[in-house]
């Protein structure tokens, strides 16, 4: 992995996020002291739990970046592992899929991240959509159980795509060779995660304060047009304002942020639809206040491959 420069821009980025978190923690504290009725108390508690989880995520992320890239690859590999575990737990598979799943968890997942670490774009971009996609049904067919065969295969392939392939594109950002931006990809990765997650938070905040017209009430009762427009607009503005940390101009940065936030919204919506279908509210209980790893990264999954390929196409 390239050595990621610790330059002034990185310090500003990280410092800015830390300042934001400190401010959020203070606001959360004040709110929890002043809240009166029960419903608001629950909301504030949820907010504070989210902020605590954010601190933890930032700490882990910072640590990963500080190890010059390889830490990030490991971090996202573990994230994929936990996300995939939640996803597969939720989808009905049969004993005939057991060996296939063993391949998926212990061979395909590590292989994908190994390829990311050695920056072999030609293979990491097709390992899962081509080779794993074809291998999975073959292995399950060999095991002999034909009941719901197509469904089981499709679900495992989907889980692998969303939880492993898509998420692996976040550390894959470190492998892009952008002229004039060598060794600075860490900031790009930080920018991506920041914009995607802040869009999530802002949509939630706008939705809670002004939300009235629901977008897809059968899928996600919390998503409103007010939340969507307010959150996306603010996050895009923030992303545009962070152009100096990226290889983009302010206008390009706004465009990229719009792409990230729209895909992030789409990802969140799709994962909600899946949860509804399976009849669960949260994917697990791994990170306090967030109800599962999958719930945290659903905005990253869909955005990561698109952002990677846009950047690759236009800037390398």
């Amino acid at each position: 992995m390239t050595n990621l420069k610790l330059d002034k821009q990185t310090i500003w980025l990280v410092g800015g996020v830390l300042a934001l978190l400190v401010a959020s923690s203070l606001i959360g504290r004040v709110l929890s002291l002043r809240v009166r009725d029960e419903k608001d108390r629950a909301t504030v508690q949820n907010l504070n739990a989210r902020i605590r989880a954010w601190w933890m995520m930032v700490a882990v992320f910072g640590l990963a970046m500080a190890t010059g890239g390889i830490g990030s690859v490991v971090l996202f590999a573990l994230t994929s592992l936990f996300a995939l575990r939640e996803f597969i737990t939720l989808t009905p598979t049969r004993v005939g899929d057991h060996r296939t799943l063993f391949w998926v968890f212990f061979i395909i997942l590590p292989l994908q991240y190994y390829l990311i670490a050695i920056k072999w774009y030609g293979l990491f971009s097709i390992l899962i959509p081509v080779y794993a996609f074809l291998f999975i049904p073959i292995r399950s067919a060999v095991a002999g159980d034909c009941e719901h065969f197509l469904e089981r295969t499709a679900k495992i392939q989907w889980g692998l795509m969303v939880c492993v392939y898509c998420i692996s594109y976040v550390p894959a950002l470190l492998s892009l060779e952008i002229p004039g931006y060598e060794g600075e990809n860490g900031k790009l990765m930080f920018y991506f995660v920041l914009v995607a997650q802040i869009s999530d938070v802002l949509q939630y905040v706008w939705g809670k304060t002004l939300g009235r017209h629901k977008i897809a009430p059968t899928v996600s009762p919390n998503k409103t047009w007010e939340g969507f427009i307010g959150g996306i607009a603010c996050a895009t503005a923030i992303g545009a304002a962070l152009w100096w940390a990226t290889p983009f101009t302010p206008l390009q940065s706004a465009g990229m942020s719009l792409v990230i936030t729209l895909m992030g919204f789409g990802g969140g919506l799709v994962m909600s639809a899946i949860k509804r279908d399976r009849g669960v509210k949260d994917y697990g209980n791994m990170i306090e206040g967030h109800g599962g790893v999958m719930d945290r990264i659903d905005s990253l999954c869909f955005a990561a491959p698109v952002f990677f390929h846009f950047t690759r196409f236009f800037f390398t």
């Binding site: 004993v95 063993f102 209980n285």
Partner: protein, 198 residues
């Protein structure tokens, strides 16, 4: 070694223990659970706080666990299992006597009243040992435990686990009513386990 195994089990299964009807206690108990996988006893045992683990022994079939040095090691050194004769019990060598002896005045047991690991999703009817234990030891708490998903993590017949999320839930203890018959008690016990499903 035991602590390491418990930690590994919890990591692989992501197993979170839900104490729904009671809390961990030094009180003598018989934990009875549905049986789906060889991981069942390990995960229940690992869900107990360490001081209780030394006092809690899983009940296991001798015919299965004496085959081979690995199984014998696991059953004796690691779990301190109570090995019972389930195929051909006699007056001198029967499960009830072994279980009562193992309970003694301090220990707790983990038993699987279905008898063996179930392949399907339905619970098999509970065998009578649970009832006889309850009759002979009214001072012991009988705690229903629900095991979930461990059969997807390590299905019967497999050796390599797949790291999915499994769970174990501990319910409220049930008591044998005075004059209650075997069938009634066993039905109540099974209902208590099923009721723990979220």
């Amino acid at each position: 070694m035991k602590a390491l195994l418990a930690t590994i089990a919890k990591l692989i299964t992501g197993a979170s223990a839900r104490w729904v009807g009671c809390v961990p206690d030094i009180q003598q108990r018989v934990y009875f659970a549905n049986h789906t996988s060889n991981l069942d006893a390990l995960v229940i045992w690992a869900s107990l706080p360490p001081p209780l683990r030394a006092l809690t022994r899983p009940v296991a079939a001798r015919d299965y666990w004496i085959k081979g040095p690995v199984r014998r090691y696991l059953a004796n050194q690691i779990f301190n299992a109570v090995l019972i004769e389930r195929k051909k019990p006699t007056a001198h060598d029967n499960p009830l006597a072994d279980m009562l002896a193992a309970l003694g005045d301090r220990h707790s047991l983990i038993i699987f009243p279905e008898g063996g690991r179930q392949a399907g999703t339905e619970m098999a009817p509970f065998k009578g040992g649970l009832f006889h234990l309850a009759k002979d030891r009214p001072d012991v708490e009988f705690v229903p435990v629900l095991i979930e998903n461990l059969n997807r993590i390590l299905p019967k017949g497999e050796i390599l686990p797949v790291p999915l999320l499994g769970g174990v839930s501990f319910g409220a203890p049930i008591k044998l009513e005075s004059g209650e018959g075997k069938a009634s008690f066993l039905t109540r016990a099974q209902t208590a386990v099923k009721a723990l499903q979220k």
